[in-house]
């Protein structure tokens, strides 16, 4: 079983603060995706990383894939209330038939 552990599970911060969410596994992934899900909606794809050490930026969000492709992080700079939501990491193994293995999620609340 390929497991993805996300931390922290819950995070409540004030507007303007920075935060980092971690996604760790003992397995190597061919790619890793980050999603954000809001209540009553499906997950929305934020980014896909595929190369060890890769860093991608999406406005105030920075995503990094570990050198060994076993872990990833999401850093948000100057968080805003609109960043509130459930953040999910999901890894893919090509030899597992394209399925995504999801982490348990990080529920972020940004207070104004």
């Amino acid at each position: 079983t390929q497991l993805l552990e996300q931390s922290p599970q819950f995070l409540s911060i004030q507007e303007g603060e920075n935060l980092t969410v971690y996604c760790n596994s003992s397995s190597v992934f061919s790619s890793l995706q980050w999603y954000r899900q809001e209540p009553g909606e499906g997950p929305v794809l934020l980014v896909t990383v595929v190369t060890g050490g890769e860093v991608k930026k999406l406005k105030r969000l920075t995503f990094q894939f570990g050198d060994a492709r076993k872990d990833s992080s999401l850093h948000i700079t100057a968080a805003q209330p609109g960043d509130t939501g459930l953040y999910l990491c999901a890894g893919q193994h090509n030899n597992a038939g394209n399925m995504l293995t999801f982490g348990g999620g990080t529920r972020l609340m940004v207070k104004p």
Partner: protein, 112 residues
């Protein structure tokens, strides 16, 4: 571009009944994935269809089944419903490679 669409949005059933959920992928996507998001269990992979064939299934009993039609839309069927089947059922689609899976908003299934 229209996203992944799912129907119905909500369903209420009783134990032992059968249910069919529907999914239309993004135009041009040939792969459809089904995931279950149950409270406290996170997102779990159910089924993957590509080019009309079932390619992989997760650790779910055979009463969970489905199919993919020539237009790439898909159905998920669940027989002999049990209380623990209460969950949000999410459909995702992608191009053949499986990366960048895009999700619909799901069908909320409640079993009484």
């Amino acid at each position: 571009e229209a996203g992944v669409t799912q129907s119905p949005t909500h369903l209420i059933k009783t134990r032992g009944q059968q249910v069919t959920l529907r999914c239309s992928p993004i135009s041009g996507h040939t792969s459809v994935y089904w995931y279950q998001q149950a409270l406290g269990l996170g997102l779990q992979f159910l089924l993957w269809y590509d080019e009309g064939e079932e390619r992989n299934r997760g650790n779910f009993p055979p009463r969970f089944s489905g199919r993919q039609f020539p237009n790439y839309s898909s159905e998920l069927n669940v027989n002999a419903l049990e209380l623990e089947d209460s969950a949000l059922y999410l459909c995702a689609s992608s191009l053949g490679g499986g990366r960048n899976q895009h999700f619909g908003d799901g069908t909320r299934l409640s079993i009484l």
